[in-house]
C-alpha cells in the first residue's frame, strides 16, 4: 500500500497547491500558529456550546461526545461537483427503480441480472412491501452515498446508504462554524451555500404526502429518543424544518390514520421522516417488544394514509452484496452507463471469488454484507496474522455474508493533528433527496476524516472526525460593473 502514490486533495502541501485550494492553503501558510490555535479553540467552543454530540454505544464514560472537527476545509471545484451530482442523481434513481422492482414484478431477476436469492434471503427484505405501493413509487427519499477518491478524476462509490443516513446536521453545523472562523476566505471564494438543506428536505417530504392528506400536509420527525446516538441531528432537523420531533408514544393510529397527541387534542400526521429502523416501526408487524414504534402504523401505511420516509424495506438495496451489482443495476434501469464507478468487489458467495479472497486476504478489505459503521470488517494490510486468520474462518463458515474489495489508495487532506498539519484519509457523503417532483442535492456533503495516522476508517464511532466541504461556484460571473448598473436600472 505504502508504495502507491496517494492523491492529496490539495495536490500536496510541499508543492504548488491545486488551483481551487490556492486561497485556503495561502491562508494557512501565512497564519501564525497562535492564530490557528485560537481559531481551533473557537471551533471547539462553538461545538460544545451548541451541544452537538453523538453517543458511542458501549462507552459509558463518553455517553455524550463531540465529534472532532478539523478546520482545514475540503474543497471541490464546480466542475468536479457537477460531474458528481449527475452521477449521484443517476445512481439514486436506479436505487429507487431497483427497490420498486424488487417489491414488484422483479424484472431484473427475470432478466438474469441479479440472482433472486440475493433478494429473498436478504435480512432487510420486507415481504409486507410487496403489497404496499409508496407515494410516487419512491422508496429512498433521503439517501447518503459515500464517495471516495483515488486521483484527480477518480471517484468511486464506496457505499450506498438507502435506509436512514445520518450526518447532515454536521454538514450544516460545520459550515456554520467555518463561516464564523474564516469570514475572510468566504469573502474571497464563492462557496455554494448548504443552509437551504432543511427547506429542501421539507419540500421533498411534503411532495410525498399521501393523496388523502390535506393541502398543508403535516410532517413530523420520528426519533427513538434522547438515548439514540443521532438524537442531536433529529432535534436539529425538526427544529430547522419547523416540525414536531415525535417519539413513538406521541403517535397513535385510529381507523388507519396516524395522529399525534397535542395539547389541543389529536392532530393528523401525513408524512413521517422516521429515524428508527424498520423492525422497530410497528410492534404489530415487526418486533413485538419494540417500545419505539407505533402500533398499527403499518396498516395506516398500507391503507395509503401516511408516508414513511424512507419507505420500509429500502435496506434491500444497500447491503454490500447488492452493491457489487450496482453497475448492472444502473444500466438495467437507466439504459445508461454508470456515471459513478463502483469499487471492484468480490462476492464471497461465488466459489471462485471466495478462493481469491482467502488467498489474498492480507491485501483486501473484507466486509459483512450487512455491517455498517465500520463494525464487522477487516482491513487486511492493517490486521495482525491472528486477526486475519480469525476473520478468514468466519468468512469460510458463511461466505454469502461477506464481500471483499481491494484497499484503495484513498485520497488525503491536510488535517491538524498534534504534530501540526498532516495528511489524513477522507471520504465524502453527499445527501440526495428524491421527491415526487425532482431530485435535490445540496452542493457538498459531509467530509469524514480518519484521524488516526494511516487509518482508512472514517466512522465517528471509530475515532473519525469531520471537515466542512466547500463547492466553489466557478461559473463565470458577469463583470461587476455590469451587474451593478443592471441593479440600478431595475
Amino acid at each position: 500500500m505504502s508504495e502507491r502514490v496517494i492523491f492529496d486533495e490539495t495536490g500536496g502541501l510541499d508543492t504548488e497547491p491545486r488551483p481551487i485550494y490556492r486561497e485556503a492553503v495561502a491562508w494557512f501558510r501565512e497564519a501564525s500558529p497562535e492564530l490557528i490555535a485560537s481559531r481551533k479553540a473557537e471551533a471547539e467552543a462553538f461545538f460544545r456550546r451548541i451541544g452537538i454530540t453523538f453517543a458511542v454505544y458501549g462507552d459509558e464514560a463518553g455517553a455524550e461526545r463531540i465529534i472532532p472537527f478539523d478546520i482545514f476545509p475540503r474543497i471541490l471545484s464546480g466542475d468536479e461537483w457537477a460531474r458528481l451530482s449527475v452521477g449521484l442523481e443517476q445512481r439514486v434513481k436506479a436505487l429507487n427503480a431497483f427497490i420498486g422492482d424488487v417489491y414488484g414484478a422483479r424484472e431484473i431477476v427475470k432478466a438474469g441480472v441479479v440472482p433472486e436469492d440475493l433478494i429473498l434471503s436478504n435480512p432487510a427484505f420486507r415481504p409486507e412491501m410487496t403489497r404496499i405501493k409508496p407515494a410516487a413509487g419512491l422508496y429512498t427519499h433521503i439517501a447518503g452515498i459515500d464517495l471516495v477518491r483515488t486521483g484527480p478524476d477518480d471517484f468511486f462509490v464506496l457505499e450506498d446508504n438507502a435506509r436512514t443516513p445520518s450526518g447532515v446536521s454536521y454538514m450544516m453545523e460545520n459550515r456554520e462554524a467555518m463561516l464564523r472562523l474564516f469570514p475572510e476566505l468566504f469573502a474571497r471564494l464563492r462557496i455554494k451555500p448548504v443552509d437551504q438543506y432543511p427547506d429542501e428536505l421539507l419540500t421533498t417530504l411534503r411532495s410525498l404526502a399521501p393523496a388523502t392528506a390535506s393541502r398543508e400536509p403535516t410532517v413530523v420527525v420520528l426519533t427513538p429518543g434522547p438515548f439514540n446516538s443521532a438524537y442531536y441531528e433529529h432535534t436539529f432537523l425538526a427544529d430547522r424544518m419547523g416540525v414536531e420531533l415525535v417519539e413513538g408514544r406521541d403517535l397513535f393510529v385510529r381507523s388507519n390514520v396516524v395522529y399525534m397527541r397535542t395539547t389541543e387534542g389529536p392532530q393528523r400526521v401525513d408524512v413521517i421522516y422516521r429515524r428508527i429502523d424498520d423492525e422497530f416501526l410497528d410492534p404489530l408487524t415487526f418486533r413485538p417488544d419494540s417500545a419505539l414504534g407505533v402500533a398499527g402504523l403499518m396498516s395506516a401505511y398500507k391503507a395509503g394514509n401516511v408516508t414513511l420516509s424512507n419507505a420500509v424495506g429500502t435496506g434491500v438495496a444497500d447491503d454490500k452484496a447488492v452493491y457489487s451489482y450496482m453497475p448492472e443495476i444502473v444500466k438495467f434501469y437507466t439504459g445508461e452507463e454508470p456515471k459513478l464507478a463502483n469499487v471492484p468487489t468480490w462476492r464471497c458467495r461465488e466459489p471462485d471469488a471466495l478462493g481469491h479472497v482467502l488467498a489474498n486476504i492480507k491485501d483486501l478489505v473484507v466486509k459483512e454484507v450487512n455491517g455498517s459503521g465500520g463494525y464487522g470488517m477487516l482491513v487486511g494490510p492493517h490486521a495482525t496474522k491472528a486477526q486475519r486468520e480469525a476473520f478468514a474462518a468466519k468468512v469460510r463458515a458463511n461466505p454469502a455474508n461477506y464481500i471483499a474489495q481491494p484497499t484503495l489508495a484513498l485520497s488525503t487532506s491536510p488535517c491538524f493533528v498534534e504534530s501540526g498539519l498532516a495528511p489524513r484519509h477522507v471520504d465524502l457523503r453527499p445527501f440526495v433527496l428524491s421527491g415526487s417532483d425532482k431530485v435535490r442535492i445540496v452542493p457538498g456533503g459531509l467530509t469524514r476524516v480518519a484521524l488516526k495516522e494511516g487509518s482508512l476508517v472514517v466512522n465517528s464511532s471509530q475515532g473519525g472526525g469531520t471537515k466542512d466541504t466547500w463547492v466553489i461556484d466557478d461559473a463565470p460571473s458577469p463583470p461587476k460593473g455590469q451587474k451593478q448598473s443592471q441593479r440600478q436600472m431595475s
Binding site: 456550546r49 451541544g51 429518543g225 434522547p226 432535534t235 425538526a238 427544529d239 414536531e244 420531533l245 415525535v246 417519539e247 408514544r249 406521541d250 399525534m260 397527541r261 397535542t262 395539547t263 389541543e264
Partner: protein, 313 residues
Amino acid sequence: MLARTADNLFWLSRYVERAESLARILDVALRLATLPSAYAGTSNEWESAIDIAMCRQLFFENNEVADQASVTQFLIDGPNNPSSIRRCIEIARHNARAVRTAITTEMWEILNDAWGELQRQKFKSFTGKDLSRFLAFVKEVSLRFDGAAYRTMLRTDHYWFQRLGMFVERADNTARLLDVKYHVVLPQTESVGGGLDYFQWSALLRAVSSLNSYHLIYRGGIRPWLVAEFLVRRSEQPRSLIFAYENLNRVLDLLSEQYGRQGPSQRLVRKTYAGLQNLDGDTLFQSGLHEFLTQFIADNSQLGLAISEQYLQ
C-alpha cells in the same frame, strides 16, 4: 404543540422549583439547629424538614435517626430518594434535553452546567460551610433558570406550560412549609405569640426569602397570624398561595384563549383562586389553618392532575 413537550416543560420547571424548595428547607433547619434550645425550642428541626419534604416514611425506612448528617444526605443525594436535590436537577436536565428545541439556549445551559457541577461534586461529608455553599448554588440555579425563562422565552404555550409547573409546585411547597411549621411552632401548651417561637417564625420567613419583605409590609414585630396571612393571601408576596393562583389563573386563561377551549383546569383554578380571595382571615388563623392548608394541598394537586389530563397526555 406536542402533549409530551408540554408535559416535559411542566415537569422540568416543577423539578427546578422543587430543588430550590428543598434547599430552602435545609437552610432553615441548619439555621435553627445552630440555636440553643432555649431559643429554638426542643423540636427536632431535622425531623420537621423531612415532614415538609413529605418523605417521612421513606426516610425512616432508610435511616434510624433524623439528624443533620442523615437528613442532608437523604434530601441532597439519598440513593433511595426519588426526589433528592440531585435527582430533581438530573430529571430537569433530562427533560430539558428531551425538549431541547422547546426551551432557549440560556435555559438549557443553566441546567446543563448545574448537572455538570453535580457530576463533579461528591456530597458525602458535609460540614456546615460546604453545605451552605451547596444550598446557595442550588438556589442560584433555580433563580437563574427562572430569570432565563422570563427573559428569553417566547410568550407562547411553551412558556405558559413552563410557568404552570413552576406555580403549581411553588404553591404546594409554601402550603406544606406553613402547615408543618405551624404545627411544630405551636406546641399545645405554648400560647400563640409567646417568646419561644420568634426564631422559628423568622426562620420560616427566611426560608421563603421573605424576612425583610415581611417587615416592609407589617411594621410591627413578627406575629404568627400575620406570617400566615402573608404567605396565604398577600398578593404582593411572590411565594404566597394567592400569588401562585393569580398567575395560574391568568396562564390558564391565556391557554384557553389560544386554544379556543376551556376545561376542568380553568374551572378548578377559578374556584381555588376565588376561595383564596374570599378568605376570612380572622377565623383562619385562630381555628383551622391546618384544615385549610390540607384542603388547599389536595385542591392544588387536583389542579395538577387536571392540567395533566387536559393538556399533557
